[in-house]
Symmetry: C2
Subunit: 212 residues, 2 copies
DNA sequence: AATAATGGATAGCACTGCTATCCAATGAAG
DNA sequence: CTTCATTGGATAGCAGTGCTATCCATTATT
């Protein structure tokens, strides 16, 4: 398959695929001559994956690059794999969060929550949580202890189900953790919206209407 | 307080505040002369809110504008309020999702999940869910029925806690729902990462390391 | 009266994610 | 074996977002 075929199969313009090739997001095709290359199914998959990560996952192309690097180099240990996967996701999401000076109080609270759950106190994640709690406070909608407990419980339940879906083979596991987590993040938030509508309606009867 | 004071109290550059004023994201100060205006606490709050929504909430300025409009015009009914709040959030998040042609199968599955939960079948939300499930499939990480059930359960638990935090006064309720939901979305996903690390470590012992 | 700051307007800038154009080398068609 | 479209490769440009910098006449401040 030549580049035009790749474009046709994926629905992505040739110029954009050339751009992805330049950026190293899609591997070069097998050169059949100095000005011609041949592409296969793995190229089709790659292009589709890039689009899924950007369009549904909300990643930037820089983030996609990190995720792809993680996918191409799956660590042997399942736990190390998770670390690599999260590293790729977090790098994109929280660019400048780490260096931000965050108050001592909120940082301690974040650490306390993590400790109470017995979670591993990952410095990047904890800093992230602290910033988020601080921002909520600043915006006038502080997260109460009870509310936070419920969020933690929900996270634990979800994480248990997440890990249960991870296959044994390293490459497949990596894909499942990285891409699966990213895409189901969005699903989880959508479901939260549904459930909020339901809970709200339960209080007041059905005067519901479409949103959007 | 003059504009320089507003800049100092919020940590946002004067030029940026002028930009927000131009864009209508922050209300004009009270004019004390033709070339001078006075700003108060509500202006400080607004600037901080804009930053919280963009930096932690991940909204574009266009999205911030919608959210602020909703905050400034809180409906009387709590349920209508939730609709307005979600409308403001969804408009920014799912720009071109609705018109996207999505397969019949995945659409039916989304509707089935919503029906099984007894949720209100909001067309925008359902379309969104269908697109997300389709994208996960396309990316090679389909969401299984059991996994989806767990996500739904978690969403319901979280939503119950969410609604419990909503105060009675319409303006405060609006702020809580819109800003609170947006900011705790991020918190929820961070907690999910923590819990995933924990679950992963439980299987293999503590060979964990920092991510990022 | 001198200096500094203000609001208002306009222009520009850095970054992202493409898109369009050009080119020589090549492959397919008659 | 010539013609003509297509390819890979390179370079430049473009639209949108979120600021940032400069200028200016007017107004405070000292």
């Amino acid at each position: 398959m030549r580049i035009s075929g790749l474009a046709e199969r994926t629905g992505v313009p040739v110029a954009t695929i050339k751009y992805y090739l330049r950026e190293g997001l899609v591997p070069a095709g097998e050169a059949t001559s100095r000005t011609q290359a041949s592409y296969g199914d793995r190229h089709v998959d790659r292009v589709r994956l890039v689009r899924a990560l950007t369009e549904s996952g909300g990643l930037s192309l820089a983030g996609v690059r990190d995720v792809l690097a993680a996918l191409d180099d799956p660590p042997a240990s399942r736990h190390a794999l998770l670390g690599a996967a999260q590293g790729a996701l977090l790098a994109d999401e929280s660019a400048d969060v780490a260096d931000d000076a965050v108050g001592e109080g909120v940082r301690r609270r974040a650490a306390a929550v993590v400790a109470a759950r017995g979670w591993y106190d990952d410095p990047v994640l904890t800093a992230r949580l602290a910033v988020q709690l601080r921002d909520a406070e600043r915006a006038g909608v502080p997260v109460g202890d009870e509310h936070l407990e419920v969020l933690c419980d929900a996270a634990e339940r979800v994480a248990r189900a997440d890990l249960a879906t991870v296959p044994a083979a390293p490459a497949a596991a990596m894909r499942q953790v990285v891409v699966g987590t990213l895409l189901t993040d969005a699903v989880l938030l959508t479901l939260r919206r549904f459930a909020q509508q339901q809970e709200s309606g339960r209080d007041e009867g059905a005067d519901g209407q479409s949103v959007g």
